[in-house]
Symmetry: C2
Subunit: 412 residues, 2 copies
């Protein structure tokens, strides 16, 4: 059961001028399901991306990095079913063949195509079936194709993940629409997280690159379901430049700040949707760490809490288990942390309870207050390290019977 | 159900000349259970220890570090029930009062006593009950008290953990006996791992210190149940010097090598017993990484595999899920790892199957071979990084429904 994740409606999603989206049933791994998505970008679009750091980086990710560096990207092609990871030279050849076929279909060069795959790893991509499905995806291209695409990129996701919003920039209305997928892991292998965000703003390549990196760090790189990192993770931001605003090139200007806020907002909502749909999730946890010397140490503490199986099972049990949270802070790796100086709160939208200070349980803390907070589905753990002004936030979900069941039983 | 961990028998454990052990029921947290252990060391004993790196280091650990630095330790006192962690100044006062009482009982100074506590954290130590239990523990002191002590230090452990062996050094028989406890975590908080190893060898303090550190790294610091680190973890090695061997002071001599091998062997068996008794464990996994540039990167890879919830649930399901293992290697943090150069085997005592090479599935690998290996209770994952001569081994267990159940349900 996703945690407070509502099924997206077609009317929730706004077309982005300069982007057309089509889907098809290519039978990549299973028949009768939409498993192929084609995204066509108008000439002049700018594209930026960030990719997995896993050394078993999949073949399509390797091609994406090359093609995005060349600039002038005109199409994205996404298949589910097979991740084309751990497939060696054949995998690279298959990903390249995909780009050639898409290029031929759309009348662009193979180097102008970014390929994405998600699904089982260590299996060959059935590239013939993928290519055979391209004409149908091509015929389906339309500006309002986002809703179908959000569904076509799903794997173990239980709900499609998509967000649109608009923002005024330089007197023009800029539209942003994004889709994402990922839910912990994917049968029978790793969970790939994919995020695609398109807007029609005009923005310089340098600022788009920087913004994409920042947005990824604050969204997809700030969530954790089980701490594992996929071979295929990718996050792409497209700016078609068709909104008619003056090109944004000043990182200190108000136009950039408006675009930045909107891109980060949409990215965070797309990333949070992945956690809300985390495998077996029953609670959505925000781990907000402040008062650190730098962001790195704040993230260390947030991830230590958010990835601790003991903390996550305690949240599943609605147990305000302060000891497990404090212990996770203690082993997060800040060598000179003065535990006497930190404070910890458990909170909901309605209240916040100080649970720890001065190296132990807060004198004012009553167990029934913690129990009341822990019954909610959305809980914030706020930690003040009391040694600086940096902060970082990580989102995660709890660890349930169903997590083990989903990940242990998939072949039965 | 512990994995291949056999209940220790009293006759398995050898007295160590110079060490007397006694236990008592002090009612620390529950009545009618042995929860207090006293270990008396003869004059002239040498003691070395390594302790948790958790910043929420418990009060007794803080005192231990001070007292062990002063030398001439004559007693260890261990209580279960309450960990005396996250207890601030009162906790330090309580641990100190414990040492004063033990010193008075045995006629030594408080600074010659090392206190250890394991149990719930954030609760005050009932030091009056502990002290009231000391006369009974004192009256119980005997050379063959190890069997009872192995049981008295248990918390969530399902079986006592104890090992003895003898080794010839300089024409004399040296006896080693050790006990340990720990099983993932302890109601309602963190799992404390405690290990106590005593021998009657004569060895210099400098070599004992170095050996204790090395043995801890190769044993208690090479196991993982859930990746969490306790506030109270401690490992102590005692050498009473009563075996009559010439004092070992040459780190290159054969006497030291014999002692070293024996201490490391006993330490590894004590540490492995903790994994075999891991909460909900159904399989015992050895992660052996070789061919690294240094031990640090080998340990990174071994821990990435051994701590991955996806790998651990796959082992629970007896699923030879190669993709999850490769992905864990890929995100272990070796930035310049050439995945094309590594090889991975799954093995049992009877056979070893090459499953991956050249960046993907090994051409010779057949799924039925992997399935056969994964059905065993003891499985080795061997990884050759193919870039150097360093190696490291980590032991872990699988991740089952019962792990979640034990850690989510303890208050029900």
């Amino acid at each position: 059961m996703p945690v407070n994740l509502i099924a997206v409606q077609p009317s929730d999603l706004l077309p982005v001028p300069g982007v057309r989206v089509g889907v098809a049933e290519a039978g990549i791994r299973k028949a009768n399901r939409r498993d192929l998505t084609l995204i066509e970008l108008a000439a002049g679009s700018r594209v930026a991306g960030v990719f997995t750091l896993n050394r078993f980086c999949a073949a399509p990710v390797q091609l994406c990095k090359q093609h995005i560096a060349g600039g002038d990207v005109r199409a994205l092609v996404i298949n589910t079913g097979v991740a084309n990871a751990g497939t060696g030279e054949q995998g690279l050849a298959d990903a390249h063949a995909t780009c050639v076929a898409v290029g031929r279909t759309l009348g662009v060069a193979p180097e102008q195509v970014l390929p994405f795959s998600t699904g089982v790893i260590l299996e060959a991509l059935p590239v013939d079936r993928l290519i055979a499905g391209l004409p149908a995806a091509h015929a389906d291209l339309r500006e309002d194709g986002w809703f179908d695409a959000a569904h076509a990129i799903m794997t173990t996701d239980t709900l499609a993940k998509a967000v649109s919003r608009q923002v005024e920039i330089g007197g023009r209305t800029v539209t942003l629409t994004g889709i994402s997928k990922g839910a912990g892991m994917i049968k029978p292998n790793m969970a790939t997280m994919l995020g695609f965000l398109a807007c029609d703003a005009a923005v310089s390549q340098a600022l788009l690159d920087a913004l994409t990196k920042e947005a990824a760090d604050l969204s997809f790189n700030s969530i954790t379901v089980d701490g594992d990192t996929s071979t295929n993770d990718s996050f792409i931001v497209v700016a078609t430049g068709q909104a008619g605003n003056a090109e944004i090139a000043d990182p200190l200007g108000s136009d950039f700040h408006a675009l930045r806020d909107a891109v980060i907002d949409v990215s965070i909502r797309l990333a949070q949707a992945i956690v809300r749909d985390g495998e077996g999730a029953t609670k959505f946890m925000t781990i907000a760490v402040e008062g650190g010397l730098d962001v790195v140490e704040c993230r260390k503490v947030a991830y230590a809490i958010g990835q601790s199986p003991l903390v996550k099972t305690a949240f599943f049990a609605s147990d305000p288990n302060l000891g497990r949270i404090l212990a996770a802070i203690g082993y997060a790796g800040i060598q000179d942390l003065d535990v006497g100086g930190l404070r910890v709160w458990l909170g909901t939208a309605a209240e916040e309870v100080l649970v720890a200070e001065l190296g132990g349980r807060a004198p004012t803390y009553r167990e029934e207050d913690g129990v009341r907070v822990m019954k909610e589905a959305e809980i914030t753990v706020r930690v003040d390290l009391g040694r600086g002004r940096a902060r970082a936030t990580v989102w995660t979900c709890d660890f349930s019977y169903d997590y083990v069941k989903i990940n242990a039983d998939y072949r039965s």
